[in-house]
Amino acid sequence: MLLQLVKKDFLIVKKYVLLMIAVCVVFPLFLIWRSPEYAGILGFVLITIFSIFMLLQYVSLKETQYPKASTLLCALPFSRKDIVLSKYIFCILIYFACSLIFGLETLLFPQLRNVGYELPALSFLVISVVLGIYLPVQYKLGYEKTKMFFVVLIMASPFLFAKSLEIETNFIAEVLSERNPIALLAACLIISMVILIISSVISTGIYKKADLS
């Protein structure tokens, strides 16, 4: 039941899913060509965040375009909790898909260098924090009022990109090398899961009270 709801999210944005897969494949290769020194880590982090939010925005756009479809789903024996959880799982699956694509690319293109598992774990934490805040806010305010957040994210991405370069060289590399990688991975995953669970509980609470037109 829950998986069908996740599948529904992919189905309603299937055109964009194919586009994002193509972007996920091409973007790191583009970085190898233009900025080979940053291709690995930034190629992964930026494309993962961008893919998740882009597809999430498209799903929200479709839900807004067809509001009665959400009403119908809630009129069926689907629980609102499952409908909310499917959105979180949808985002997590995109994260894993991006990791898989990037992982395969690192095997084919050594220039991307192996990012190990610490960076994907840290990225997952960052994504969990952003999603953990964004999804409850979107359930509360709706797509129209929160789409500005995404516009700001896109507008700020060049700045974030430049900042990330500094962070990567000056901070992350040191942090990653000095910490016990297993502990770091475990901490990232546990904190991420806690954030996502709390966020999904809040989102479910909001959506259960939603007045579906």
Partner: protein, 285 residues
């Protein structure tokens, strides 16, 4: 007959509209028409029953179970047809079915395919390419393919041509023939209910105006046509929706016997549901 649906003291307030103390019940084995003009509160009531909108107070029981605590079990046994379907237009019929079927434990794929064949629907077709009538047939196929015992439909005949409306009514009759079932059917096109409804519930301005068996209701009212000269302030009190012209008057009365005594020369005609609905709307008097 047991009640398949019972609504008691339902209250819900919006800024500019409210449902006030809505109470009615649907007996098993009946097609119940839920009538009222646009904005009367039909859709809000249906959505409150289905838990789609939070209510302030009220008790909703379906199949004898409390909707608040048995929502999933109840919805397993309900078929839903929303106005305009409520589908993602870019999906194919088959893709949308996959989503909806996964919600039901008792989904009957053979029955679904039989409905698609009967309605000449191609499962690979995109929902966006369906006409309004085909969309309604598809919605019915989905609503009737999981052994539903109660069919709740919000304005299903709105915007459909007479042939498709007639086919829809035939399907509802078939659905009821299996026994132990009920249909709750909101509409402002009352001619469909003239043909098929057993029971009528009318709502206006967020309040229930009446709940009555259709035949009893139609027997209780008469359209009266008579000479304007015979109408005085006393006799006017018996009538609703009085329409006066230079040739005479037309009105509706619930006091049929008394009206016959006072105006024996007038013509008394059996009204349609629409006449009764209109005369009960505020301002219809």
């Amino acid at each position: 007959m047991e009640n398949i649906l019972e609504v008691k003291g339902l209250n819900k307030t919006y800024q500019d509209f409210s449902l006030k103390d809505i109470s009615f019940s649907l007996p098993e084995g009946c097609i119940t028409g839920f009538i009222g003009i646009n904005g009367a509160g039909k859709t809000t009531t249906l959505r409150s029953i289905l838990g789609l909108t939070p209510i302030e107070s009220g008790d909703i029981r379906v199949f004898g179970m409390d909707m608040a605590t048995n929502e999933k079990a109840i919805k397993e046994r309900i078929g839903i047809v929303l106005d305009e379907g409520g589908f993602y237009d870019e999906l194919s019929l088959s893709e949308m079915k996959g989503i909806i079927a996964s919600a039901y434990q008792s989904w009957n794929e053979n029955e679904y395919r039989a409905y698609l064949d009967r309605f000449s629907l191609n499962p690979k077709q995109k929902i966006s390419t369906l006409s309004k009538g085909m969309r309604m047939k598809y919605a019915l196929a989905l609503a009737l393919s999981h052994e539903a015992e109660l069919l709740i439909m919000d304005e299903p005949t709105s915007g459909l041509d007479p042939l498709i409306r007639s086919q829809l009514l035939d399907i509802l009759k078939e659905f009821m023939e299996r026994g132990g079932r009920g249909v709750f059917f909101s509409t402002h096109i009352t001619s469909d209910l003239d043909k098929i409804a057993d029971m009528l519930v009318m709502i206006d301005g967020g309040r229930i105006v009446f709940q009555e068996e259709k035949d009893t209701l139609l027997d209780g009212y008469r359209i009266v046509k008579g000479d304007l000269m015979k109408l005085d302030s006393n006799s006017e009190k018996m009538f609703m929706a009085i329409d006066k012209t230079t040739y005479g008057f037309t009105a509706i009365t619930k006091n049929v016997d008394e009206a016959r005594k006072i105006l024996p020369d007038s013509i008394f005609e059996r009204p349609a549901i629409e006449d009764i609905m209109l005369c009960n709307i505020k301002g219809g008097k």
